[in-house]
């Protein structure tokens, strides 16, 4: 039975893909049909994912794969395949569930849009690609779906094509991820070159299996780091995170789906998937590649958390919070807490999607107003949104007991504390937790508390079709914590392949209380600071330089623009200049030389040779004229000439002999 499931695994991405092609062929008018197809496709995918999830529960460490040849070049064959293991199964369920909620939400959110059908086509195309990434058993197939996910994100970010900023954001997103993908591509090539196959699990000879790993030797770290570049690009890690905040130009459901739950998670998933590469030759769990991952994660988390504090736009705050959370996940993976990282990924997927959809309904309510400083006091006007948004905020900031975020964060902090090389990440992560709580409370106060400012004047509650997904997600965010608590770490064990055991006593962890204290401190500080919410941000009043520095995203964009992009544009203009004038100049130079040489020979020919020949002919002509004068026409002259001629000959003969 298990093999049959894996045989049909490809159906999961195929159904949404088919749905997207069908929708593409529909015209803009058939809106209902488009939405229907999309949601149906998603529901089927969810059911199939659950179907696939069920067998993985029976046996711990469950892994089933199925490979087939894609094409043969020369005598070699390129094989790809699908794999089903706890990591994939869990991700499948999360993606399909979250996508379904977002699809339903966007029916309402995008109702007013003209290209409604095209939006749903792109969305189902995106989910299909994301599902493909998750179940791929070959790094190549993964890369293919990875790129398609990038394409989908480009299309979705740039959905409102008429807005130049959206188009620029889409281009920026695609290019930045593309930079990461280039590294990833090199990693693939290297891996393929060294291990001879790109299949993860191929009955022992796969790249991630013992035989394949052994053949890698020292290059494993480099391959791992290159693959991490791809992950960093996609998940918005430190150097390549600039595209994510700009990606907020896209419609909110897009942000919710892509930039909260799924796509950005792909990077983390990738690192988790190829973890054996990272941990190859680990000395008590530490390898150079992993340390790099940790430090990148730490930096990303801190920077984005700080920047989030100074952002006026409701969605940008959430974006930076996502970046920070992703940094946190990377740190957890880096320090060895793979399961912890994935658990936080899942939890984050739910409540971040919830928060984004909440902000979506807020924006919808305030008639496309995104600046929190112009909102306020929406608590009364949009109660359901406020309530679900509050749950999301609490989960995110890690309030323990009822909220998923807390447990996963606590697991990560626990893992970071175990990390041998240095304790600094651990302390920084603690600071991160405080900052998260701080900027979330700032946002809550600005949006929902305090007096209503301009945009919020006549805000109105969103229609039920948008409310339902919010509620579902809120339930998930809370319910999910059930499986997360240390008492019954079902998910942790499931992921790490052990049998889950119920042990209530573990519930109480010293780290838990410490974390609780930190969160409380964060929220309290937030309330203290932003009590008198006003146009001008309190920090701005106290530390204007710092605030402006943070508000402008630490001038990173400008830095990139002036340095890397600047050089690149310069290189482009230079090569064009070279092309137009230097190489072309050379050619023209040869042409000139040729003409010069031609001119030289022409003049030599005319003056030198011709003149000489003319003179010679002149002499002969003169001689000719003289002789012809002798032709007097008199017969006797001729006769005498003959006679004289004969005499001369005779004389000559006589003289010679």
């Amino acid at each position: 039975m298990s093999t049959s499931i894996v045989a049909h695994l490809w159906l999961i991405p195929a159904v949404p893909l088919a749905a997207s092609f069908v929708i593409l062929s529909l015209t803009n008018v058939q809106r209902a049909a488009a939405a229907g197809f999309a949601i149906a496709g998603q529901v089927i995918a969810l059911l199939l994912s659950l179907g696939a999830f069920w067998p993985t529960l029976q046996t711990p460490g469950y892994r089933v794969f199925q490979n087939f040849t894609w094409f043969a070049f020369g005598e070699q064959a390129l094989r790809i395949g699908f794999v089903l293991d706890p990591l994939a199964a869990v991700m499948l369920v999360m993606i399909t569930l979250v996508s379904l909620c977002i699809f339903v939400f966007s029916v309402g959110y995008m109702a007013a849009d003209r290209n409604f059908t095209r939006f749903f086509a792109y969305l189902s195309f995106f989910s299909a690609a994301m599902l493909g990434v998750v179940i791929a058993n070959s790094l190549l197939l993964l890369f293919v779906c990875w790129e398609l996910v990038g394409l989908a994100s480009y299309l979705l970010i740039g959905f409102w094509i008429h807005k130049p900023s959206a188009a620029a954001a889409a281009k920026k997103a695609f290019i930045t991820t593309r930079i990461g993908d280039i590294g990833f591509f090199l990693g693939i090539l290297w891996l393929y070159g060294r291990s001879g196959t790109l299949l993860f699990y191929d009955g022992g000879t796969g790249a991630l299996e013992s035989v394949g790993l052994l053949s890698l030797g020292t290059s494993a770290t480099f391959i791992a780091l290159l693959i991490f570049c791809g992950a960093a690009g996609k998940s918005g890690q430190f150097p390549l995170h600039v595209w994510l905040p700009d990606a907020m130009e896209g419609p909110t459901p897009v942000s919710a789906l892509i930039h909260a739950a799924t796509m950005v998670a792909a990077g983390v998933f990738l690192v988790a998937r190829v973890y054996p590469l990272f941990s190859l030759g680990a000395i008590n769990g530490v390898t150079p590649s992993l340390t790099v991952v940790v430090w990148i994660g730490v930096i990303t988390a801190l920077i984005s958390a700080l920047i989030a504090l100074a952002q006026p736009d409701i969605k940008r705050i959430l974006a930076y919070s996502t970046v920070s959370q992703l940094g946190l996940m990377m740190v957890s993976l880096g320090v060895g807490g793979v399961a912890a990282g994935i658990m936080h990924l899942l939890a984050h997927g739910f409540f971040k999607a919830l928060l984004f959809l909440g902000s979506g309904s807020v924006i919808h309510g305030c008639h496309e107003e995104q600046d929190i400083r112009r909102m306020g006091g929406l608590r009364g006007l949009m109660p359901v949104t406020f309530f679900t948004y509050a749950i999301g905020m609490l989960a995110l900031s890690g309030v323990p007991l009822f909220f998923a975020g807390a447990w996963t964060k606590e697991e990560i902090l626990h893992a970071t504390s175990q990390w041998s090389p240095s304790r600094v990440p651990h302390y920084l992560m603690l600071a991160g937790v405080v900052l998260t709580a701080l900027y979330m409370t700032r946002q809550m106060i600005y949006v929902f508390f305090g007096d209503r400012r301009a945009a919020a004047a006549h805000a109105h509650e969103s229609p039920p079709v948008m409310m339902l997904p919010l509620i579902v997600l809120a339930v998930c965010a809370v319910g999910f914590s059930v499986v997360l608590t240390p008492a019954w770490p079902w998910l942790h064990d499931y992921l790490s392949g052990e049998r889950a055991t119920y042990n209530f006593s573990l519930l109480i962890q010293p780290m838990l209380y410490f974390a609780l204290a930190l969160v409380a401190a964060g929220i309290g500080l937030g309330i203290l600071l932003y009590r008198r919410a006003s146009e001008i941000d309190p920090i701005e009043r106290t530390l204007p330089a710092l605030f402006r520095f943070l508000e402008n995203r630490m001038w990173l964009d400008e830095l990139y623009d002036r340095t890397i992009l600047g050089w690149a544009r310069f290189a482009a203009r230079l090569s064009d200049f070279l092309d137009r004038y230097f190489w072309d100049g050379l050619v023209r130079l040869c042409g000139g030389l040729g003409r010069l040489f031609g001119g030289l020979t022409k003049s030599l020919d005319e003056r030198g040779i011709n003149a000489g020949v003319d003179d010679a002919t002149g002499v002969t002509r003169a001689l000719g004229r003289f002789v012809s004068a002798r032709h007097s026409g008199q017969v006797q002259i001729y006769l005498s000439v003959i006679a004289v001629g004969m005499l001369a000959l005779l004389f000559l003969y006589a003289w010679l002999t």
């Binding site: 012809s628 004068a629 032709h631 007097s632 008199q634 017969v635 006797q636 006769l639 005498s640």
Partner: protein, 105 residues
């Protein structure tokens, strides 16, 4: 007188030839030139016969043949030459060779 030997005949034919040449060169009248030419041809014929006569005897009559043909050709030449002279005379009303130099180079 000495019996006639080959050199004497040759001398006579040479003399005849030169007289012909003299006539052809020095006289202005066209017909004199023709007479000169005929004389030269006759001298040549005489030469041939002399050589035939004094050559190794059983030789085939080559000299004779040549002379006969020479005479025939001389006759043809004389006919055409005289016809020319007449035509020239009719056209230019003169037979003075010097004046007829239309073909001047």
């Amino acid at each position: 007188m000495m019996t006639p030997t080959l050199p004497t005949f040759l001398m006579i034919s040479a003399a005849l030839f030169c007289i012909g040449l003299l006539a052809a060169l020095s006289r202005r009248h066209a017909i004199f030139i023709l007479i000169g030419i005929e004389m030269m041809l006759a001298a040549a014929g005489l030469n041939f016969i002399a050589f035939w006569r004094f050559g190794p005897q059983p030789a085939p009559p080559i000299g004779v043949m040549v002379t006969i043909f020479a005479i025939a050709i001389a006759a043809a030449e004389a006919a055409v030459g005289l016809a020319l002279v007449i035509a020239v005379y009719r056209h230019y009303r003169t037979t003075d060779v010097d004046q007829v130099d239309q073909l001047k180079g």
